[in-house]
């Protein structure tokens, strides 16, 4: 049992037999299900890497979800006319609030980014700003659900689950879809009607831990509280021998075979997972690059570094939720501290991914569930705005140093190249090499899609 991180690239070293075995049964074996009882299909590995509809630009996704909704007009959507009209009364919607933060142009591309993100701004030329985002839902819970599943109405599979369903996983010793500090409602990383294998594995808890989310970062049942490795190995030998004996006695062995493979995989995971999750193995330079060691950035920095290690090890879809962006009041103070907590970690992550050559096929997505109003709530706050907001992408085939779509002069509503959540999803799937109209699953008598009957790919953002 080696303890090195099984990079996706190191898989070529695995023996053919081992490969066959894990591919034959490993992580995603479905047996007994009435529809899959067929012998030929019994050993189908539903998590094996699958061929895409067309050449993918991204192989993996990291979604940095800023829960509570950051204000686009204070971060990535520069509105000079809003600054100019600061204090002006708008009939029916209140008084305009110019951004208390300064905007500057950055990089060769000259993208406008506010002073809230000085570190991320250094990577302006990697960013693809989506400034024409909009969503149907003006309240957090529903908008979060729509962002994650496309639907605010029904329990549906999440974006990560669809991605995993479409692509399979490249490392069977790790879950294919991981949610670090997951959203409060499990619907957002659930698999809905897709098989449960595709659901997100939560690590840490959003409801516990500090502001911003956190809690202990561990995977359930990954280690035995009682037994030494040697003892556990003795135990596993017994289990596997009993299973093998059963397989010999019984001519129908598909289930037993699957259990044997799953046991072996679990045993491997016990080594691999803690190893991958041990962020302290990274050099102090790398840790510092993520802001680990500084109080403000420690938590999110660790989460970002952990995410990179997962992605590097072959996890298909990673999400990190960062809570606390809902500034109805105390916009100045709280948006400053919120962005401080994520700015350096995100910048460090982008740099690290680029340095490792991973950014080109890793799609990083940053954003909240909606945006905020250009008008003030009280004197120092902004209300929800689902009609216009900004998200950004980096890497994974998205154009760097590019801005797509626009809100009106004040930032109140998307008007140019509008991008609905369905469009965002269609575009993400497209970058993964999947046609959102063809990625379907039959349930309750019809073929379902992530994008329901909508969704247009924003071709212009593709590098």
């Amino acid at each position: 049992m080696g303890t090195s991180i099984p990079l996706a690239t190191s898989q070529s070293n695995i023996s053919r037999r081992c490969m066959l075995r894990s591919a034959a049964a490993g992580f995603g074996y479905v047996a007994f299900s009435g529809l899959c009882g067929q012998a030929a299909r019994a050993s189908e590995n539903v998590l094996a890497p699958k061929s895409t509809h067309f050449e993918p630009r991204a192989k993996r996704v990291l979604f940095l979800h800023m829960s509570g909704a950051p204000s686009h007009v204070d971060t990535f959507d520069y509105k000079p006319q809003l600054q100019a009209a600061d204090g002006k009364q708008i009939v029916g919607s209140g008084r305009l609030l110019g951004s208390p933060f300064n905007f500057k142009q950055h990089g060769d591309s000259g993208l406008w980014i506010s002073d809230l993100f000085p570190e991320v701004a250094k990577h302006a030329d990697k960013l693809c700003l989506l400034r024409g985002m909009h969503t149907d839902q003006p309240a957090h819970p529903q908008a979060t659900m729509q962002m994650h599943t496309g639907s605010a109405q029904f329990v549906r599979p999440s974006l990560g689950a669809w991605s995993l369903y479409g692509l399979g996983t490249e490392n069977e010793s790790l879950p294919g879809f991981i949610c670090i500090s997951p959203p409060r409602s499990a619907v957002n990383y659930g698999s809905g009607f897709l098989p449960a294998i595709y659901q997100g594995t939560p690590i840490g808890s959003a409801s516990r831990g500090q502001r911003g989310g956190g809690g202990t970062l561990e995977l359930a049942n990954i280690s035995n509280p009682r037994l030494s490795r040697t003892k556990q190995k003795i135990q596993l030998n017994l289990i596997q021998s009993l299973n093998n004996a059963k397989m010999r006695d019984h001519r129908d062995d598909s289930h037993v075979e699957a259990v044997i493979a799953a046991n072996e995989l679990a045993f491997r995971m016990q080594d691999v997972v803690p190893e991958v999750m041990n962020v302290n193995n990274e050099s102090s330079e790398i840790q510092a690059q993520y802001g680990i060691g500084e109080q403000a950035t420690e938590q999110f920095g660790r989460q970002c570094l952990l995410a990179r290690r997962f992605l590097e090890s072959g996890v298909r879809f990673v999400e990190i939720v960062h809570n606390g962006w809902d500034q109805h009041t105390q916009l100045r103070e709280k948006h400053t501290s919120q962005s401080k907590a994520v700015d350096r970690p995100v910048a460090g992550l982008l740099q690290d991914l680029a340095d490792r050559g991973l950014l080109k096929d890793t799609l990083v997505i940053w954003g909240g569930e909606f945006g905020r109003t250009p008008t003030a709530q009280g004197t120092d706050g902004r209300n929800h705005n689902n009609k216009g907001f900004t998200m950004w992408m980096a890497g994974g085939g998205a154009k760097g140093g590019f801005s797509y779509g626009a809100t009106d002069d004040l930032g109140s509503e998307a008007v140019v190249d509008k991008m609905h959540i369905h469009d965002l999803h269609a575009t993400i799937l497209h970058l993964l090499g999947l046609d959102h109209t063809r990625l379907t699953y039959r349930y309750a008598g019809r073929d379902f899609r992530l994008t329901n009957v909508r969704g247009n790919v924003a071709e212009e953002i593709i590098a």
Binding site: Q38, P141, S185, S207, L242, H255, A262, Q270, A444
Partner: protein, 1029 residues
Amino acid sequence: MRKLARRTASTGRSRRLTNSVGMLVLGTVALVTTVIAQPPQRDSQSERFNRQDASSPNVRRPQTQRPPQQPGGRRGPNFRFLDTNRDGGVDKREFSRFAARSPQFSKQPQAADVVFRRLDADEDGSLDAGEFAKIGQLRQRSQQNNRWRSNRPRTNPFPELVRLLERNSSQTAASEAASAQPVSVEGAEFFEAKIQPVLEKRCYNCHSSASPKLRGGLRVDMKHGLLTGGDSGPAVVPGEPNESPLYLSLFGDEYSQMPPKDHLSDSVMDDFKRWIEMGAPDPRKDSMLFLQEAAKSEIDIEKGREHWSFQDVRDVLPPHSSDDEWSLTDIDRFVWDGLVKADLQPVADADRRTLLRRVTFDLVGLPPTPDDIEAFVSDSQSTDAALAVVVDRLLDSPQFGERWGRHWLDVARFAESSGKDINFSYPNAWRYRDYVIDALNDDKPYDDFLREQIAGDLLDASNDAERAEHLIATGYLAVGTRSPNESDLKKFLLENADEQIDALSRGVMGLTIACARCHDHKFDPIRQSDYYALAGIFTSTETLFGGVRGPQIRQSTQFVSLPTSLDFADPAPMTAEAYVDLQGRLEDLRSEMRELGPRNGENQRQFMRTSIRISQTEARIASYNPDGSSKPRTMGAHDWQPSDLPLLVYGELDQPAEIVPRGFPEILRGDHTSEIGRGSGRLELAEWITDPNHPLTSRVMVNRIWQKLLGRGIVPTPDDFGTTGKAPTHPELLDHLASRFIEDGWSTKQMIREIVLSRVYRLSSENHAKYAELDPDNQWLWRHRPKRLEAEAIRDAMLFASGDLRLERPVGSAMARLGSAPPQLLQSLLAGKDKLLDSSMRSETETQNRGGRRPFFGGRRPSGRAGAFGGRAAGGMLRQLQQFGISVTADSLFPEQYHRSVYLPVVRGQVDESLAAFDFPDPALVTGQRDATTVATQSLYSLNDAFVIQQSEKLASRLSKHASTFDERIDLVFEWTLARKPNARELQLAKTFFRDWTRDAGTDRSTVAGAWAAFSQSLFSTAEFRQLD
């Protein structure tokens, strides 16, 4: 248009009746409020959020003040009357004599003590008149909690919508002409600057789509609303301010004063005058509220009838074949026929041991005991006779309902929280769970079972017990998912109806009717109008799901109160003292709130937090009697003002088309064509669904039963009998079973009995190379299909082996004990439980298992001693729980962990790990067939989970008590876990294991007990343990 005319006429009639009906309604409301316990959210909470709304003067407030509940009425019992010895004081004896006569105290005499102590301020053991008078205050406090509870109940908003639609339609021409007039730029600007802001600020609360209840039928948030007006006609007559009610009402002479509380300033009134004089220019573009033309349905119903499942069930005689020596029953004759035609032979029968394990798990979800095995294997009768005895025993055991009830709960998408965006608790959902289990155990005829779940509240009952049962059954309608965050009541109700239609149509009829919400069904002959005919039945029903109002919970309802004459076991009693404490807590919170002052930017967070705590505490108080017993309530449904719905184009509320009379899908309507009368139509719905001629109800159910026993349905898609579902492999057999089912009085037990006593059920699960090639899917049933055990059966089997399993039913659920506290709290608690389990296990191994479970918290009133079981996180948990006035110990909160798994709390999104690991279905969805995956997380669970380890250790300890020699123990542990003895090879493997274990010089659990625990755990982790051959 003809239809429209008819509808309008009937509306006119109903309007004439309004007054007399109104009086009737008031009376009914009063009646209803005594039957329906109102939830706390109508208290100050709703007043805080809806103050303006409630003060609208042209609304008749129903006078439904609840009569005082306390003994002695408002003024309290007569002091002199109580002072029987006339010494000028009421002593404890006199007080208890009074208490004994009072229904409030009779159940729990200590409550009287507590109250006495509280009143006795000078502690002289006697109450003087002044002290005694304070009883009024205590009572008043609890009456305050009752007062608001009888406030305005929610009403069905759709009758009003329909009325508005019909009126608008008749006035379309006039208002369209008016709205067609161009609006000048100045006019538009004037409107936007002077008029619209006032309308928004002062009128929208009661007169817009956002109004909880639209007042006077008038909407001012749309142009047509002003022009066509409300109950008193057009609100604005362009150019004529003195003829425009909108303007006149500002003065309050001729019309009710608007806004109700204060006059608008003179300058604003002048603005309105000027605006109307200008011709009331209104640049708004209305999107809605005229009956639109719906797309004409292109579904050909007659052609649709050709699909097999819409055709009548035919009672087919079983085929007879002279060379059939294999068949035992009619079922077998159908199967044999299929096998022969496919050129297949059935394999041999399973051996008795395998058969017994199969039938025991299948019928009761538990393994057979060693005695059962011995009795069956050595029974000298024929297998037929011996098996019949076993089957009768199993069907009669109470464990049967726990197994088969759970199957139904999968289909009924049962859970104890709302799921979706805001997950809030359903503390009473467990009553429905228990109802289902009892119904299966009682073999309640399936048609009655359905009738009660759909319309139990409308059925006649011969006594209170039956009445309670019927009310609880309607929990079926209420346990689904919902988004309480939805602020639009109409949308909320439409979602609710959609969820119910989906659950009912797929669960009971195997049809995806909910697909027809936005357009005609794409595959099945279900029209969009069919959907709205059904939806009208469900929106004419108020689903009562509870919930406590808060900033994110905008929708909440009452619960159904159960008859108080019955003696319900109390799922979550508290002491009378705790009740009084809770009231004190509420007072504290309220004064905290008063100190906070009005809500502003600074105190917003604190304000919200306190107001949530207040409503939570109020909710908790309201669900208890002063003696500390909880009030028996359930989730459910009742009828409210019925109304048909308009068909909604694309399912959008702002695109209503023709009004669809409530009814049933045309393709399945059969004889049920008469119009739905006065009620919601649920009773008619129940009768239609349970009509023996309904082609789907019986087929779907027998297919479900067959699938649970044979591993795959005759129709392999149990929830989809439509054209996209799979066709039955044995259509005649399916119809035969469906007819038998109805003939046998819809008896589920009888159907199960028939199937398990057939030859085909008895087949071995052995593979056969040749047949596997001919029929890899085993669709012709040449062998028994092996099954992976369900999560519950796996977990129960571990408890069974360890000897920990408590077979009696727990009272209630952990969720009942949590009350209205958020279910996330349960998760924290359960996570803490693992830690506790872990530490207690350590001490148990050290002290050789004393078998005691340590209390979760230090005591009833937890203090800072949380460190013992999880440090700060647990301390936070305690504080949170205290905030909800809940004090618990591990055992009192969660005794279910040692009962059968069906009693574990089912919280959407956070299902217990032991269940989630083995494909427990997402309880948001109707699940006729569970997944059966084999994944590494299951292995991690078996190898490392604290519960599995605990159970292994208990099994080891039990072994050591029951057997002394190595061989005896090995025999026993195999029998307890795998229902068989080990073979020679396994014995050898066991010996190797123990040798290796002791040889390893590690310090961890090198004890014998440790080795046996690890060995037991290994058996739990085998494939065979989880598999049913």
